[in-house]
């Protein structure tokens, strides 16, 4: 590998274009050709049925015979701005992954989100979207709407050493010219970027029904995953005082799909928050369930639970939102249901 590097001086545009070309070739070459040889390309049973879904995800090409998406896909993924999607019955699931916002976009967002100092990384052109054309229903998860839900007021949360810091500054003030106003917070926004975002929703309304539960038994089944994506919408390290992260995952199976949008907050020495929105769609019943949960707990209480389990690296697990979520007390839960009539005109039904 050093031989390669020695031969070139940096990377020029031609090399980048070449790399992109190679990627396109790789993607094209992964799509199986309808020849006799193609059966050796993947090892699933080609059932002679008409597929219920169509996918253009280059990373998981469909079988040329039966249309079934090949999983696992052939090697190598370069996420070069493709917008993969899959259609199952009336449902189309689309994801897009793009780089962080550039300065021009940041300026525009700064105007739209006036007063908010934007998080360090915003994947503002990325999203996860599900759409039902027949019922004009669209649910999208994107960074802009998530940040619009950040409160423009003091969160009351302070970093662990804030008290000590201010005290020492007050001491210092006696001998320096530091003004009182400099020890006041000039900007009023929630610096933890806590968002109760449940997705951006257009179309028929959900009906609140907290008694509904997600069908965990069905979701726990290892049904083949036809389409999968996982992306960060925004992230900030809170000036190395922890992390604030909004992440969205989606998995589509034959009969159902699940989206998990998770806001994860760790303020070191202070607290944890995990706010989850799950969107579940049953393709057969044309039923959508949206569940929203807030978990929150004190930092030290969670750390104490962890010490009993592991001992060598106490901090590693604090980055694992799954582990943290399991330890945190549930503060709030809401559930909504939307049933779309499959055959007749679009209309909302009351959940029985």
């Amino acid at each position: 590998m050093d031989r390669q590097r020695g031969a070139r001086h940096g990377i020029n545009t031609i090399q980048i274009n070449r790399a992109r070309e190679i990627h396109a070739q790789t993607v094209r070459s992964r799509i199986p050709q309808p020849t006799a040889a193609s059966s050796t390309l993947h090892s699933h049973d080609c059932a002679p049925t008409v597929p219920r879904y169509r996918s253009n995800n280059p990373n998981n090409p469909p079988c040329a015979h039966c249309g079934t998406v090949i999983i696992p896909a052939p090697k190598a993924t370069f996420p070069f701005e493709d917008t993969p999607s899959i259609t199952v019955d009336d449902w189309t699931i689309t994801t897009r992954k793009k780089p962080i916002l550039n300065s021009q976009e940041l300026d525009q967002w700064g105007e739209q989100l006036s007063g908010l100092t934007l998080p360090e990384m915003i994947f503002g052109n990325s999203y996860v979207q599900i759409k039902n054309e027949k019922h004009d229903l669209c649910i999208q998860f994107n960074a802009l709407d998530a940040l619009k839900a950040v409160k423009m007021e003091d969160s009351g949360i302070r970093v662990s050493y804030a008290h000590k810091w201010i005290k020492s500054k007050r001491e210092q003030q006696k001998t320096s010219e530091l003004h009182d106003s400099s020890l006041k917070i000039a900007q009023h926004y929630d610096w933890t970027y806590t968002t109760k975002y449940k997705g951006t929703h257009a179309g028929p309304e959900f009906i609140r029904d907290d008694s509904t539960e997600l069908p965990l038994d069905k979701l726990a089944k290892p049904d083949p995953i036809l389409f999968y994506d996982d992306m960060v919408l925004f992230e900030d390290e809170l000036a190395d005082n922890g992390i604030s992260l909004l992440n969205v995952k989606v998995r589509v199976m034959h009969e159902r799909l699940l989206i998990l949008s998770r806001f994860f907050l760790r303020v070191d020495g202070v607290l944890f928050r995990v706010f989850d929105t799950r969107v579940y769609v049953d393709f057969h019943e044309n039923k959508v369930i949206r569940e929203y949960k807030e978990h929150e707990g004190e930092y030290n209480a969670i750390l104490a639970k962890h010490k009993m389990v592991h001992s060598h690296d106490p901090k590693a697990v604090l980055r694992d939102s799954n582990w943290v979520a399991q330890q945190l007390p549930l503060v709030k839960r809401e559930c909504e249901v939307l049933e779309l009539n499959k055959d007749s005109e679009p209309k909302c039904e009351e959940n029985p």
Partner: protein, 307 residues
């Protein structure tokens, strides 16, 4: 120890024996110990921002900007954490420093501390590569000796984070006892942590600790010290650099495709003898070399049955 051999190994990302790291760190400390808190540097010089363990991009940086053999460099800190090659990146810079002492100035960033490296990757990397944390400890000792700033031709002030209300003149930086872990408050802390923002005066960050400074503070500092520019790093910029306050302050960012997923380009700022500013932009290396071997161990999106 043969310095040139070690440099070769580092450039190839090869494992460096613990004893070699120990002796490198010791020698670097001796060298850095004699540097002032603020070093003076002459033009022409190339100013580089955050590296964050992206060794292969650091090599691109040197390739594209002429190389250490013929050029002077100032690194504004944050050599470690986040990337997969924090150790190699930091050691490479130390080796260059030992090999060409007058061609490279290393300024301390907020990630060059024990506390931060324990959380953001460097500590884990060392334990993964060596099975124990000795090497991490040696490196942290070196962190304590890194300088806090640099001045180019008495006209450009270089620092990792930004200004401090406790620092109106450079002499106030000179009087800091820098050979310690970065404290949670005070001038040393502010220089490594503070951020420019749209504020009218020094103001407290909403986090409850740390300062924000605005145009007025920058203009006063420049005027008082007869500077024309503050060059700092510390904040990710999609375009690699960002000038603010009518060119009185610039943020330089030198880690392309930060964390291997942000898609940003990187930049270095070359300052000529007449103080002309030239930004050199570069992109991230590809994750694989020409024959398909992984250079960067990219995290493949793994499908999981999340609930």
């Amino acid at each position: 120890m043969k310095l040139d051999d070690t440099i070769d190994s580092l450039r190839q990302g090869k494992h460096i024996p613990e004893e070699t790291v120990y002796s490198l760190c010791l020698k670097s400390q001796e060298l850095l110990m004699n540097e002032a808190n603020v070093t003076h540097v002459d033009t022409p010089v190339t100013i580089c921002g955050d590296i964050h363990g992206q060794l292969h991009d650091l090599l691109t940086l040197f390739d594209k900007s002429g190389g250490i053999e013929k050029n002077r460099y100032i690194f504004l800190g944050d050599f470690v954490d986040r990337g997969f090659y924090s150790l190699e990146s930091f050691l490479l810079l130390l080796c260059y420093k030992l090999r060409y002492p007058d061609r490279i100035t290393m300024i301390r960033g907020n990630h060059e501390t024990r506390q931060i490296t324990k959380v953001y990757g460097f500590y884990d990397e060392i334990v993964r590569k060596y099975g124990n944390s000795n090497v991490w400890r040696y490196c942290c000792e070196v962190f304590d000796y890194l300088s806090l700033g640099a001045i180019i031709n008495d006209r450009i002030f270089c620092v990792h984070g930004g200004l401090s209300p406790d620092v109106t003149t450079i002499n106030q930086i000179r009087s800091i006892d820098r050979k310690q872990e970065v404290p949670h408050e005070g001038a040393m802390c502010d220089l490594l942590w503070s951020d420019p923002d749209d504020v009218d005066t020094w103001s407290l960050s909403p986090r409850g600790a740390g300062f924000l400074f605005g145009r007025n503070e920058v203009e006063q500092f420049l005027h008082k010290n007869k500077f024309e520019l503050i060059a700092r790093a510390h904040q990710l910029v999609m375009e690699g650099y960002k000038e603010m306050f009518d060119g009185g302050l610039v943020t330089v960012w030198s880690a392309p495709n930060y964390c291997y997923r942000c898609g940003n380009v990187a930049a270095v700022l070359r300052v000529e003898d007449d103080l002309d500013r030239n930004y050199m932009i570069f992109e991230a290396v590809q994750a694989q070399d020409g024959v398909g071997n992984a250079i960067i161990p990219t995290k493949k999106p793994q499908m999981d049955y999340f609930l």
